[in-house]
């Protein structure tokens, strides 16, 4: 009995390892394609391991396309969006968690309901509004329409409900202004949720595609995903180059994955967001 159970456990474990290999393989294959000698990419037998390492794809991509400009655009958009979104979502989530005021429930459901509108449904009017504001082909034009994030507000509210009212009331009795309370009492207690929010917002904005595709038409304003789409969409894409750029665009996310995995899991597990 014990040996049979042991055998079943081992089979299950080996199955999980095989499955994990399938999950990692596409990432490995991107790497393998990016670093293999160019002639080997179009061999029909697809060697699993490159015969030698070659960095020429990275060199070609960096010299032939404005990749550094794209990196720069991606960084600016992601960083500004994180700062803006995290700050206003914290304020908003805190208000819905800790204040009673007329119109509170209606406003809360209106925000959640309207922000769940998929971007594709309002793509045309969104495009027109942003172009009226003169924000097409600007960083702000990408950042502002996505700055109020329903999931963020929801997540912050859930978290802040559990902050004891007594702490806030005590600060009020001491004569603290509402901003002081928010910055000096509430925020220091909210570090875990701030970390989750920062990581997810960065990931969302870094990986964004549909809206930037519409709002940015000038190649010098492209973000990395748009640049990657440009290379991949060429008539005969040079897959070595494409994979090199894909790998570059993935690097920050891999670093975040390795460093902050705990927060990613926590964010998904607590609200089911992605």
């Amino acid at each position: 009995m014990a040996t049979r159970r042991h055998f079943a456990d081992s089979a299950c474990w080996l199955g999980l390892i095989a499955g994990a290999a399938v999950m990692v393989f596409p990432i490995y294959w991107m790497f393998a394609t990016a670093v293999r000698p160019h002639a080997e990419i179009f061999e029909a037998i697809a060697r699993l391991v490159p015969s030698s390492l070659s960095w020429s794809n990275f060199h070609t991509v960096l010299t032939r396309y404005p990749v550094l400009t794209w990196v720069n655009n991606s960084v600016i958009i992601a960083v500004v969006a994180v700062a803006l979104t995290v700050f206003i979502n914290l304020l908003c989530g805190y208000t819905f968690a800790k204040f009673r005021f007329p119109g509170r429930n209606i406003l809360f459901f209106a925000i959640l309901g309207a922000l769940m509108v998929p971007i594709q449904v309002i793509l045309v009017p969104e495009f027109l509004i942003v172009s009226w504001l003169g924000l097409l082909n600007t960083h702000l034009g990408v950042i502002l329409p996505r700055a109020a994030e329903a999931f963020g507000i929801f997540m912050v509210r859930q978290f802040m409900v559990s902050i004891p009212d007594e702490l806030i009331e005590a600060a009020r009795l001491d004569g603290a202004g509402e901003f002081t309370i928010f910055f000096r009492v509430v925020l220091p207690l909210s570090k875990p949720i701030i970390a989750v929010l920062v990581i997810f917002t960065f990931m969302w904005r870094w990986n964004d595609f549909a809206w930037p595709l519409v709002a940015l038409t000038d190649q010098d304003m492209f973000t990395l995903p748009l640049g990657l789409n440009l290379l991949r969409g060429e008539v005969n894409p040079d897959w070595g180059n494409v994979m090199a750029l894909a790998l570059l665009s993935l690097l920050p996310m891999l670093v975040i994955f390795l460093a902050f995995q705990r927060y990613l899991v926590q964010g998904i597990a607590s609200t089911g967001l992605k």
Binding site: D9, C12, L16, A20, M23, P26, W29, F42, E43, A44, I45, I88, N89, L91, C92, Y94, T95, F96, F99, F101, L107, A110, L115, M116, V117, P118, Q120, V121, I122, L123, V124, E126, L144, A148, I153, L167, D174, G175, A176, G177, E178, R184, V185, P188, L189, M203, N207, F209, L228, R232, W239, M243, A246, L254, F257, Q261, V265, I268, A269, G272
Partner: protein, 312 residues
Amino acid sequence: MPESGVVTLPATSIARRHRAGWWSTHQRRLVPYLFIAPNIVLFAAFSFLPLIYAVYISFHDWTLIGEPDFIGIGNYQRLVYDSLFWRALANTLVYAVGTVPTSMAIGLLLALALNRHMPARSFLRSLYFLPLVVSAVATGTIAAWMFNDNYGVINAIIVRLGGSRVAWLSSPYWALPSLVLTTLWVRVGFCMVVYLAALQSIPRMYYEAARIDGASAVRQFRHVTLPLLKPATFLLLVLSIIYSFHVFDLIYVMTGGGPGFSTTMLVQYIFRSAFVTSEMGYACAVGIALYALILGFTVLQWRASRQTENVM
């Protein structure tokens, strides 16, 4: 909590309260509105207004050049007789049916397996979770390369195993299955994480009690685990259906909606109508139809989940 230092605030703020008379008397009432104002403004400008505006445009014929022509419900009538619209709707539903139950089932199996003690458990969990941080554009790009008819690694492996090449992305028959497989790669880790969290929140004593009552492992699973996973299952069902109705980036990059219209989903069709054939009114009408569909599904799900919660 080391918060004792935080509540004793500097004397200056007390002094300030005496100076700013009007503000301090109205602060309590005005502050909530002030705090939500940035979100409300952004939400009004970039969600609410566009939604109203989309309804308005959907009653017009407009190519972005010149004035919109009012045509009443013309766009909606056209939608009913447009075989491409129905094709896109059917593709969307087939895609949802192909991805939602499968990703949830695989996610559940993974969660159950990875909830047991084993060597390298957290490392294995991480690997299943890894695709979640990869952008849809990168995922679509890698998938397009791996499914490439002539040089793709998947066909190379099939040939080496003695099979014959499959025209994955160039045949209308295989393009959608390729997309479904890629989507599973993206989604199983997500379902796994949600199920793992749910499994870990089940108190151990339930199982102990079941064991004392002599319940077998299978019965424990059926009568303890499964019922307690219901909320997670509902959450995943709603999120996965919404995801499958929204998915745009992956398909745009991987197949572009083709070959033909074999992988054109409703969101692709909206994009195509707006920015390829320049029919703004029609694009908005399709968008409103999609929104109605999503709202309908969400309300159905929500009611179903509330009913089961009441039963439990």
